[in-house]
């Protein structure tokens, strides 16, 4: 099974090298692909120096466009499994093998690394948790499935989903959006508990006002996704 770890990175020069090294340590059999999403810092150079494959986008496409680039790459090079790992050190590469296993066993099409399934020591702000619970209920309403960590970007997908995403991937809020899309196409999505680390570098973009705005936008986009053909 060919496994590709996709790291979408936008201005993550401080953390990218350590993320790459940890992935190499915990998942030595996987190929690593950094999607440099128009960074203005040295993210691309550092990743290239680390010896992994780097795709430099000519300008910032945002998380949706960047991740889709990774899926297109995975499709062109016929990978069987693609794993998304964030470049900011939040996702612990230790769990990559755990996330990949159900796909190898063909018991799931997508596996989400979840902060909220089982006991984890991950702590987040009140606003974030309110948003999380809201999305969980919204997804339950729209798809009749409980997904505890809807926004987790730590996920592994199989070939069928790679091909689907290479063709069409949401531009904004892809993590949540995709849950509805995959439900409609009858893919099997499961969650496995992982520990997530607090961000060491960079800063989270979440403020109270922004998270309300974010919630409204995601809700609208989820409803639209539900009624889409």
């Amino acid at each position: 099974m060919k496994i590709l770890v996709i790291i979408p990175a936008y201005n993550e020069e401080e953390s990218i090298a350590s993320v790459i090294n940890q992935i190499r340590f915990y998942a030595p059999e996987a190929d690593i692909l950094v999607i440099n999403d128009g960074s203005v810092d040295a993210t691309g150079e550092i990743a290239a120096k680390a010896g992994v494959k780097v795709v430099n986008l000519p300008f910032n496409l945002g998380i949706g466009g960047a991740m889709q680039t990774g899926y297109i790459y995975a499709k062109y090079h016929s990978y069987d499994i693609a794993v998304q790992v964030d470049a900011d050190n939040q996702h612990d590469p230790f769990y990559i093998n755990k996330l990949v296993q159900p796909i190898v066993d063909n018991s799931a099409d997508m596996v989400i690394g979840s902060r909220y399934v089982g006991k984890t020591i991950y702590k987040s702000s009140v606003f974030r948790r309110v948003g999380m619970v809201f999305f969980t209920f919204l997804i339950k309403l729209l798809t009749d499935k409980w997904i505890m960590d809807t926004t987790s970007g730590f996920r592994a997908v199989n070939k069928g989903i790679i091909n689907l995403f290479a063709m069409d991937y949401p531009v904004d809020y892809p993590e949540v959006d995709v849950l509805v899309r995959l439900y409609k196409k009858k893919f099997r999505v499961i969650e496995l508990p992982v520990e997530m680390k607090a961000r060491k570098t960079g800063k989270s973009s979440i403020t109270p006002l922004r998270s309300i705005y974010y919630m409204i936008k995601v809700t609208l986009s989820l409803i639209i996704e539900t009624i889409k053909y």
Partner: protein, 116 residues
Amino acid sequence: MFLNVHSISILFSITFLIVVIELVRKNKLLEQYSLLWIFMSIILLVLSSTPKIINTLAKWLDIKNPPSFLFLFGLVYLLIYNLHITTVVSKQSKKITRLAQEIALLKEEMENNKKI
């Protein structure tokens, strides 16, 4: 009076039509987007040259003030045209994204080949 609302609107529609056609001739406006504008300026020309049409239409629609019909028409037309333009922009932004992705992937492949 020569300068009344009718003569001005006739003059305006003619100028508008000429500008649209000139833009197409200079290749600054694609034919596919010019059609709706040409259509619009011809309607405008007809309506402004024969006020009777507006008066009759306004009566049919039970509009007390006939010029209001013009406003309604203009508003609805621009609304529809705007929606059309947004679908065009959406299509283009999808295509641009795809182009950026394919170019980036091609460049990666070229670099790879160079190393070998």
